[in-house]
Symmetry: D2
Subunit: 461 residues, 4 copies
């Protein structure tokens, strides 16, 4: 079992330190299953091209299935002396299928197109998985929103971290869910854009073997067919960029939700209580109950976005075509998907442990100044120009503040937050009945991802 | 003419240094036209809601059109004491329409939804403009590809910057064009995703005025209708992220094309000659002919990708809802679109000045080792397993190299690069007739962008 | 007046669009004064090398001083058709000194070493300015700390945003100041590292004119003398990286202080009140008082750190030696220093407008659980192993919480926050008298920067 | 053996999924030795404070030494159910020393100061190691420079990737070495800045135990003593930023050297040949000899710089004091140092395998236009103003180019590159004897790092 796919021309074997430095073997285990899948498609293509006989194709396919199983159950996990998983798999196939037949597997392909295909398949799968997890999280937000909507629980809506207007707690929860739903659409769009199959691009120029690239594309579910230019294909890493970008936007959105939950967990604010199983204690302060999960997700948003930054910098100024620099982008892809997946799942788990302290939330809305916009808008409906109404209310606040009195409506009664919320009249507002419709609409928009998630769960059971 | 849209409650005017620090006025000029457009839509909505009469609506609309013209011809350019362009426009409208009517313009909206709407419109327009310019550049690549294809001019295709296999110059040019076409698809996808109208979200909770948000969305061409949750809308900057992401991938792709052209312009390689009008000289070395445009585009890819990095970091950990931090993201958006546009245009101009030195390119392919894969593939077609063929050819190279002899085929004649190229049989390969089809397909894929570009040019004339 | 320093060999003039794209003229105005300064040093060197006579040196020096003055008072501001400020200055010098003498100014130098020298001088000056401003801000923190220390005002110290232990407000203010002082040390270290003069490196290989580079280094105050290798010098942009790095760490530190102040300004927490002159209102909500300055500084930390990211990406993979890509790094340098300077100054101004609401801060410490560590430490001093003490106190908290009772000491009295603070015994702790010493020590560490700031202010008056 | 250092107050145990998400145990193994070292110092402090008796101190110290050895030889490697290595070590100490004595180890400290201390020690050690490796690499560059200097081998010096002036190959090699030496200075400066000991800051406010923080600082070699403010200490991650920054600048510099070597390895240029043991072959093209090591180092420069980006984004907007977000910065630190170390070592190994093809390098300088500056400078020495000389030479080049003739001196003979190099007269130029001195000076500047490297190697043997 030799460890390299090349070398006949070389006088000296490669230096062990350098091979260790360059090896992507350990990282590659994450994409091994996709390499097997692509290789099985390649065998079909070789058979149709009559480079291998039907019998040989069968032998190769069986060997690939076996290696795939061995990798899955860890009975084969290669050997770090291999440059990459691709060499290791081919070597194992040659052991299982014999050197004669195994030696035909790599006909008409290069690691360049092989790697590009495997990571595209891996990225698509990863994006699907993240979308499923994110849909589950969005549903958590919407379920909580429905619970709070039923209670018509209020909280101060803020801008600039300053109380601005009364809102329903459910409205904030819906905002969190709508944001996730938007990120899921982006995950889907990115996945759909990975629709051209690199396999058959070979090293950079295509192959002189009569390979039917449309067959490979169809088998591997690349809906737009084979890639358009082999040279472009071997150096293109847009699937890495797109994946990391979509993961970054999702985590950055969650970092924002997290930041607010962290602030609300503080006893000083006290809007939210983290149950004991999702809080972390202190090694020195016996009374602490820390929201570590949300803090870590917030930090991981920075980490994953920086992986995207790294790939942009890796690609910048690199000639089109394949260079070994691209290997680093594969590491970023694998790490980015893994971090995103655990983050989304942990966030969901931690979120399921929180509860809103409705009494404290409601109490925090009693500052009647937060209803000042409503007062101005009532004046507008009475015909007063907005600028005049704004100024008039500003003056009333100043007077009320000086007198230590609440801000009152024209009836002399303090403005009421629940009335404020109910008075909202626009689509997408915090008005309870409009919100109920909006929650339902968001639920419907999540159905495709949830259906796919269910399907996926079934498949992998 | 007062400079602030608020203040009645305050005892002291804002500090001049802080206002100057916080003002986005100068940056905002880039988005002024889009703010006018959104305000005109808002007037329609106010009229339908009977907050303004038809006569008032007409007065306001006329005033907005006038301010738009004044801004375009620089006869009004506000005043840096305004916090932002929005305040300046409203103040000017009040001058033109009278304080009574002008004071009604801001009814039911906040700068929060106003800014979000204006930058979404601006981003969509900018993405369309960049796509048009990029389509023009892609056509340049394809035109050059057609010229070189007719000549069947060859060059060494490389991986790892090492000659790998013979390719047609046209094949490289098509790869450059295919890459741009892929970026155009991303630009379009991103633009299409900006399909929900923030206007009417007001400060964060919606409005108690009966505003028909569907009308605003329709007028402003947001195909999916109004945004789903007001709180989410005022803090969402996905349109900034999406725009900067698409600009970054486009420029990073161009940085790769640029890097190769820069290397080829060197007299040491000499594949490409830059004509005098697109080269830059040296202040000290009279003989220099420098490819500055390509170097600058390469650098700008780094700059624009870093703008995306900046926005991710700005958003990370920010509570959902509006915060003044978001203003910095607007600056990044405006700068990113402007840099991308001038870069694409300059690249196109410089590229139109280069010519390939076919003689030098062809001469560089004579190293017969670059045809080694072809030799191996011929053996495969004869039934030899690939691994054995690879090893056999490797051995032959070693022998030939030691003897200072070329690598020969089985007929004893040195391997011929043009035959190698013609022998390629796969879709997307460097085979001349397959390449001709691929170029045509890429041209067709560009048609929508080109049609839009023509339309756009017509509109703006 | 010709606009280019080259061209004799060229058949066609450069394309106007490309020159406009490549011109750094507008950005360069920021570094013009430093180019003048470096050119004056170069004249001295040329005189010593007898390339110009003493009379010619005098003429050139006078012309340079004149151009410098014209640039400062805007009576000369070049012309955007110049490629850069360096060409413009030389052209204007030739007008003033005559073409014969003016034509000698560029002898033995290239724009490569000229630009490197000018931006090193600019960076050093900028770092000095930022350090001065930061020292002023640090003093504000320490002055506020002294005020609060005298009052022995308390607040809950937090980790994970959760109340952890009682601290003095002064302790938090000192932490903010210590952080700034540490950043000032970094600013100084970075400035000191720019101690080798690039002037005389010429294009990349040095000059055959007998130029005394040590003279230029001495005159321009590069303490380690001329740069060591001309090729390295023309492509080295470490001064840009170092400057942007130091600015980034300073702003990121301030973003952390800002985040806490923003949270405390919220009426929900209410620890801090922003006076009217430093708060911003809302266009729709008459009652708002927003901490916009702190929000913007927080965002600018992200922007400036991303400028560093951009320069890393620009430099990555660029051959050593000069490339036009480096021009983009100059833009990042200029923008980074400008943004940092206005941010530090605005932060100082806004901070001077806040006041702590001592009553609310003190009241927030009454949760006696925050003294739990003290209780455990008292047990330790009595011989109980820490782990046992930690567990015991944890148990007592659980009991107290269930009973709705406060956490009491062994004397049965609730634990007292002020006693907790006073009981602290370690250097760097929140103990009032140790803190007083620490504040003083920090003040002393700032003296050199403050002295330099005073000196600098005097000079520029 | 319990897995948590807290919990007495909690009703439910932490959720397993969340603990797994939050655990830093696996990453922490890299810093375990430094945690042991800091804990041993803490034991000394506890003994002096009489919190533990001398006998107990001895028992604890022995246990810590034992755990350290167990961790080193992998006989103890904790258990992933621990939150972090700190908990695991304390638990193991308690097993070895008994619960009574072991339970005293954590007296007066928190994981907050403990982690900060361990990672500062780790960062200092890592920076020292990288500096040693980098010094070894710089010496390789200088050794190669001396070899080429002896041969007076020439190559075309370039700017903008265009031949500019003749230089010695040794001059380029010295430039590469000078750049590394400058990065070593930065590594040293950063290490020296980590001179204040966080230990004793406890959770955030210091301790009421009479701990002598100066003792800990002295034992752990923090030359400036204990940190100044406990709250600042627990949240400060400047040691992470500084380390990643210094690693980034080093790798970005190497990426530039790498880029040039990669270009020169191409047979099209052929200046450099990679020996077989450091080149990588192709799985499909038997003739390839790829410079993978240099490509990977180039890519890793992007990866490590992005780790710095990630930490900036993690810290941005985080309140001062400790938050769990900081854990992610520890991961970035560990990864950044590890990647930098292997990259520098692999680069050195690969560089030791290259050789310059002097014949091809010399041949590439024959384009006599590269001596044009020399011609102009000779005219200057004869009294002609530079601008006139530049124009005159430009004209001569145009004439010569049209005639297909070389550029000749006033003696009618073609300009000679070696004479050009020898004629250089300035410090830092490519003049052979000045270069010899410069190489020697750079060698001397490296001596401290080399001495430390030798010492370090001795220690660890």
């Amino acid at each position: 079992m030799t460890s390299f796919l090349w070398g006949a021309r070389f006088d000296a074997p490669p230096d062990a330190q350098l091979i260790d430095f360059a090896s992507s073997f350990r990282d590659d285990l994450a994409i091994a299953a996709f390499d097997i899948r692509a290789s099985r498609a390649h065998v079909l293509v070789l058979e149709r091209a009559q480079v291998v006989s039907s019998g040989e194709a069968c032998t190769l396919d069986n060997a690939l299935v076996t290696v795939g199983r061995e990798l899955a159950d860890r009975s084969f996990d290669g050997d770090a002396t291999f440059e990459d998983i691709h060499s290791a798999i081919e070597a194992r196939v040659s052991e299982l299928a014999g050197a004669e037949v195994g030696g035909k597997l790599h006909s008409g392909r290069s690691r360049n197109d092989q790697v590009a295909t495997a990571i595209a398949l891996f990225a698509r799968d990863g994006l699907g998985g993240v979308a499923s997890d994110a849909a589950g999280l969005a549903v958590e937000f919407l379920d909580a929103a429905d619970r709070e909507l039923t209670a018509e629980s209020l909280m101060p809506g803020t801008t600039h971290c300053q109380p601005a207007q009364p809102i329903l707690i459910a409205f904030w929860l819906h905002a969190a869910g709508v944001g996730v739903a938007r990120q899921i659409r982006r995950l889907d769009v990115m996945r759909d854009s990975m629709n051209r199959c690199p396999l058959g691009a070979a090293a950079l120029a295509g192959s002189s073997l009569p390979l039917d690239r449309r067959l490979a594309a169809a088998v591997l579910d690349f809906t737009a067919g084979p890639s358009e230019n082999a040279l472009d294909s071997v150096g293109d890493r847009d699937m890495v960029l797109d994946t990391l970008y979509a993961c970054s936007t999702l985590l950055v959105h969650l970092s924002r939700v997290a930041a607010e939950l962290i602030a609300w967990c503080s006893p000083l604010v006290g809007f939210v209580r983290l149950s004991d199983d999702a809080a972390t204690g202190s090694s020195i302060m016996p009374h602490k109950r820390n929201p570590d999960t949300f803090e870590l997700v917030r930090a991981k948003a920075a980490s994953v976005a920086a992986l995207l930054t790294s790939v942009f910098a890796q690609l910048k100024g690199l000639p089109i075509s394949y260079h070994r620099d691209l290997q680093e982008s594969k590491r970023a892809l694998i790490a980015g998907l893994a971090e995103t997946q655990v983050s989304v799942r942990a966030f969901r788990r931690a979120f399921s442990s929180i509860s809103f302290d409705r009494a404290r939330c409601n109490a925090a809305v009693v500052d009647p100044f937060v209803c000042s916009t409503d007062l101005a808008e009532r004046m507008i409906l009475g015909g007063v120009p907005f600028r005049a109404a704004h100024a008039a209310v500003g003056g009333r606040i100043k007077t009320a503040e000086a007198a230590g009195a609440p801000l009152c409506g024209d009836d002399g009664a303090p403005l009421d937050p629940l009335s404020s919320v109910r008075a909202k009249a626009t689509l997408g507002s915090t008005n309870p009945s409009l919100l109920r419709q909006a929650i339902l609409a968001t639920r419907i928009s999540l159905l495709p991802s949830l259906a796919e998630a269910a399907l996926y769960k079934e498949e992998t059971q």
